[in-house]
Amino acid sequence: MTSPRPSTFLANAVRSGARSAVDVLEEHLAIIESGDGEVHAFNLVTVDLAREQAIAVDRTVHAGEDPGPLAGVPVALKDNLCTRGVPTTCSSHILEGWRPPYDATVVDRLHRAGAVMVGKTNMDEFAMGSSTESSAFGPTRNPHDTSRVPGGSSGGSAAAVAAGFVPLALGSDTGGSIRQPAALCGVVGMKPTYGTVSRYGLVAFASSLDQIGPFATTVADAALLFDVIGGHDPCDSTSLNRPTPRVLSVLDDGVAGLTVGLLTEFLDGADPDVVARTREAADALAAAGARVEEVSVPEVVLGLSAYYLIAPGEASSNLARYDGVRYGLRVDAADTVAMNRATRSAGFGAEVKRRIMLGTYVLSAGYMDAYYNQALRVRTKIIEGFATAYRRCDVLLGPTTPTTAFPVGAKTGDPLTMYLSDVCTIPTNLAGHPAVSVPFGTGDDGLPVGVQVLGPALSEGTILKVAAVVEAAAPPLAAPVLAVGGRA
C-alpha cells in the first residue's frame, strides 16, 4: 500500500513535457476563479506572477533542463510568508500595502524546485486564532460546509488544498495552526521539528514555537513538500545544522514492529465521534503490525495554559515593530508616541490586541516570574513527560482536535472556548516536536475528522510512515462540492 503522489505525478508530467506548466496553472486558476468567491481561501491570487513562473518552468523543460521535483506544481502560501514585491499582510490592516523586498527561504526553495506560486492565503490575523475569523479581510469558509470554519490560523491554506484550488500549500504552526485546520478541512498537514524548516521570512508570531509546514491531499505529497522546504539555512540561527531526514523515501516502510501510544489525555476531552475515529485508526495500525497501547502523559494538560503565557509574551515583543514609522499603516498624530498609539489602535484587531496586552503583562516587572517564567518551567515538564513516553513508544496517536469544524461565529464571542480548539496540538509546539494530522473518516455531522501522529524530535520519517498507514485505512472522504461552480 503506497500513499498516492498526485504532485509527483503532476511534476513528472511537466518534467517530461507531457503537460505544460502553463496548462496546469490555467486549470487551477479556473478552479480558484469559480470557487474562491465562496471559500475566500485567498487574500491575493498572483495571476500574472504565476503565469510568468509557469512559462519559466516550461522554458526550462524545453531547454532540456530539469526544473525540479515540484515542476509546475501550483502552491499557495500563507500570507505571513514574505514574498518579494508581493503584498504580505498577515491578514492585518497594519501591514496593508507592504511589499517585502525579499523572499522567505521557503519561498526561494519552492521556486528552485520548480513550483509555481499562485497566491497568498487568508489566515487569522498574525496567526492568532483557530478559525480564520480574526482575519481583517473576512473569514475563510470550510469547503466541506461553507457555514463552518476551516480552522486556523492557516485556514486559507487548508481550505485551498481541500477545495482543490492547489495540490500543495504552506502554513505555519505555532500552537496547531497547520494541523487543526488540516483536520477540519480533511487534508494532511504537518508541523515539522522546530529548526528543520527555516523561519527566515516567516513573519513572527511566537518565535520559539513558530514552524512552517506543508499542507497536501496525501501523506506522500506532504512528505515531498517537506523534503523541498526543509534543511539548514544560515539565515536562521535556530535552524538545525545537521542533515534533515529525507522522508519521502521511507514512507512505504510500514509500521510492523513499531509501538504506538494512544494518548489518553487527548481522548479525554474529545467528542465521542472523534474518539471513535481515533480508536479505529489505532486498530488499523495494530492490524498493520504495530503494537498499540494506551499511554498517559499527564503534563500535556498543562500545555494550553503555558502556551497562552509564552506565545503572547513573545508576540508582544515581535509585534512591537508595527509602530507606523517604517512601513505599513500610519495614522498621523501630534507626536511619535501618539502616532504609534493611533496606528496600533486602528491597525490591529481585537484578538491581536488581547494577546499583546496579555503578553506585555506576563513579561512586566513583578509578574514575569509568576507567569512567563512559570510557563517556561511547565514547558520543561512537558518535554520531560514526552521523553518518558517516547522511551516506551515510537509515536503517539490522538485526535488532532476535540471536535469537527464548528459553525462560523460559534466561538468568536468566547476566546477561551476558541483556545480549547488547540488543546491537542499545543503540547507538540511547546516540546519542539513534529506531528502530522491525517484525515480519518467523518464525525456524526459528516465533517472530516483528523487523527494526529506525534513523535520525538526529527522523527518526521517515522510519523509520516505511520500516517501513511492510517491514510491507507481511512474511509474515503467525499470531495467537497461548492455551491458555486464545484469541481469537475
Binding site: 514574505c82 523561519r199 527566515y200 540561527s237 509574551g313 512591537a320 509602530d323
Partner: protein, 477 residues
C-alpha cells in the same frame, strides 16, 4: 565622590552585528540597510563571528572571565529602534569580573563587558534641532545593528581625574586590542557616568545620578566635577539627591535632569528566541588572545625604559609616550632607537611630527623613518629639513628620504659658508649685535633666535640652528 563609568564601544567590524551590511560611519543615510537591520517582518538575526572575537579581545584586554553567554530582548518604543526592542546581553554577559589599571596605579574593577546592537540615529528638523518644536524627524538606520560592547566599571573611582584617566586608558586599550577606533567625536566610544557623593569613605554610597552625553575625555572630567559639586551643594543646603538620569550640556557646562527613577522604563527583558547561546570554546578564546599585541601600559613602560632612568623623564616626554602609544606609533620609536637614533629625538619627532598624520605614519616603512632620523641625528639634515622631508614621506605614502632631501636641494652648509652667512647677517644689524654682545641672558637668548631666524631665511632652512647659535657665540667671544 564615587564614580562608575559605563562605556559603549562600537566594534571595528566590517559588517554589522546580525547582518551583512557594512559597518561604516558617515555614509549617505539609509544606504547600509537590509531587512534584518531595518527589523522588517520575518527577518532574523545571525551573530557576526568577528564581533564575538572583538568582544572577547576586549574581555582579554580587561582581564575578564570570558563565559558562555545569551542574548535578551530589551523592549521599548523609539523610532530609531528598528524592531522596537534591542538585542543585548542581560544576565549572562560574555565578559565578567575584569579590571583596568590606571597609570597612577589605581585598579578599577570591570563588572562586565557585554555585547549589544546599536540603534539608528534620529535627527529633528526645525529651528531647535531638538524633539520639542521639530517640524518632522528623520531616522538614519545605517547605525542600526552596529555591534557594541558596553563596559561597566565598578564604582571604584574617587575623583574626576581618575574618571578622566579611566576613560583615556580604556580608550587606549580598546584601540590597542583592535576592537575599536576609539573615535569619541564619531560616537565610536560613548561614556555615561554614575556619580554619587558621601561625607567620608567609611559611609555607604550616596544616591547616584547617571550622566549621559559625555563625548570626550575632557567632558567626562568636567561633567563628573560639576555633578559632584551639584550634589554636595544640595546636601549642604539640607536637600537630598534624587536618583536621576541627567544630560551633560557641554556648552553650558552643566547637567540637566532627563528623567527620574520613577519614570524608568519596564524593559520586559526576556531571552531572545531568535538566537542560540554563545559558547566559545577555550581554543577560540585563546586564539583571540594570541593575536593580540601588548597593551598600552606595557608599551608605555617599554618606551620609558628607552629614555633612561625614571628621574630623567620629563613630564613632556610622559605625554609624548602616551601620544605615541595611543596612535600606535611606538613601533617607529623602537625601530629608530634600535637603529642608533637617540631616544629623545626619536620620541619627539614621532610624537610631534609623525603624529600629525598617524594613519600614514603607521604605514611608513620603519627603515625609511630610521634613515631619515639618522640623517638628522648625524647633522646631514637640519631639524627643519628633516621635518620637511618627513612631511613629504607621509603625504606621498613613502619614498627615499635621501632622494627627497636631494630633490629639495637640502644639503648641509659647509662651515665656511655658514660662517660667512652669519657674518653678513650680523653686519647688517649692528645695534642688535651690540645688544647681543652686552645684554643680559634673556636678551641674548632672544637675539640668538632673531639672528638664527634671519640666517634660516637667507639659507631657506639649510642652516643647522645649533650650528648658527654656536657661530654667534664664537663671534662674540
Amino acid at each position: 565622590m564615587v564614580i562608575g563609568l559605563e562605556v559603549h564601544c562600537e566594534l571595528k567590524t566590517a559588517t554589522k552585528l546580525f547582518c551583512g551590511c557594512p559597518n561604516v560611519f558617515g555614509d549617505e543615510p539609509n544606504t547600509n540597510v537590509c531587512p534584518v537591520c531595518l527589523g522588517l517582518p520575518g527577518s532574523l538575526p545571525v551573530i557576526n563571528q568577528k564581533a564575538v572575537e572583538l568582544a572577547m579581545a576586549i574581555g582579554t584586554a580587561l582581564r575578564c572571565e570570558i563565559r558562555p553567554s545569551t542574548f535578551h530582548r530589551k523592549n521599548y518604543f523609539y523610532p530609531d529602534q528598528a524592531k522596537d526592542y534591542q538585542i543585548t546581553q542581560y544576565d549572562e554577559p560574555i565578559n565578567v569580573n575584569g579590571y583596568l589599571d590606571l597609570p597612577d596605579g589605581t585598579r578599577v574593577g570591570v563588572e562586565r563587558a557585554h555585547m549589544e546592537e546599536d540603534t539608528g540615529k534620529t535627527s529633528h528638523a526645525g529651528a531647535s534641532g531638538r524633539i520639542h518644536g521639530a517640524d518632522y524627524s528623520l531616522v538614519d538606520y545605517n547605525r542600526s545593528g552596529v555591534p557594541l560592547v558596553e563596559i561597566v566599571s565598578a564604582p571604584d573611582m574617587r575623583s574626576s581625574a581618575q574618571a578622566r584617566a579611566y576613560a583615556a586608558e580604556l580608550r587606549a586599550v580598546l584601540i590597542a586590542s583592535g576592537a575599536s577606533d576609539g573615535k569619541m567625536e564619531e560616537g565610536s566610544m560613548r561614556v555615561d557616568a554614575n556619580v554619587s557623593v558621601r561625607r567620608s569613605p567609611d559611609e555607604a554610597f550616596g544616591t547616584r545620578c547617571e550622566i549621559k552625553n559625555l563625548n570626550s575625555v575632557r567632558s567626562v572630567g568636567r561633567a563628573v566635577e560639576y555633578e559632584a559639586e551639584r550634589q554636595i551643594a544640595l546636601i549642604e543646603s539640607g536637600e537630598r539627591v534624587v536618583q536621576q538620569t541627567r544630560h551633560w550640556d557641554e556648552d553650558a557646562g552643566r547637567t540637566v535632569a532627563l528623567r527620574s527613577k520613577e519614570d524608568a522604563y519596564d524593559y520586559r527583558y526576556f531571552l531572545e528566541p531568535d538566537l542560540v547561546p554563545l559558547v566559545p570554546d577555550s581554543e577560540w578564546i585563546h586564539a583571540v588572545g594570541d593575536t593580540m599585541g601588548p597593551m598600552p601600559a606595557v608599551r608605555r613602560a617599554r618606551l620609558v625604559e628607552l629614555l633612561g632612568d625614571a628621574g630623567d623623564v620629563t613630564e613632556a616626554q610622559v605625554d609624548q609616550v602616551a601620544t605615541v602609544v595611543d596612535l600606535g606609533l611606538d613601533g617607529l620609536v623602537m625601530a629608530a632607537v634600535a637603529g642608533g637614533v637617540g631616544s629623545g629625538l626619536a620620541l619627539a619627532r614621532t610624537a610631534n611630527e609623525a603624529a600629525t598624520d598617524a594613519e600614514s605614519a603607521r604605514r611608513l616603512d620603519p627603515e625609511r623613518y630610521v634613515a631619515l632620523l639618522t640623517m638628522e641625528a648625524s647633522g646631514a639634515l637640519t631639524a627643519t629639513q628633516a621635518k620637511a622631508v618627513l612631511a613629504e614621506l607621509l603625504s606621498a605614502g613613502g619614498g627615499d628620504p635621501a632622494a627627497i632631501a636631494a630633490s629639495r636641494g637640502f644639503e648641509t652648509m659647509s662651515e665656511d659658508s655658514l660662517a660667512a652667512t652669519v657674518a653678513d647677517v650680523v653686519a647688517a644689524h649692528p645695534e642688535d649685535w651690540e645688544r647681543y654682545c652686552h645684554g643680559d641672558d634673556a636678551d641674548r637668548k632672544k637675539l640668538s633666535q632673531f639672528f638664527t631666524g634671519l640666517v634660516m631665511k637667507s639659507t631657506r632652512g639649510q642652516a643647522d640652528g645649533k650650528a648658527v647659535a654656536a657661530e654667534l657665540r664664537r663671534l662674540r667671544a
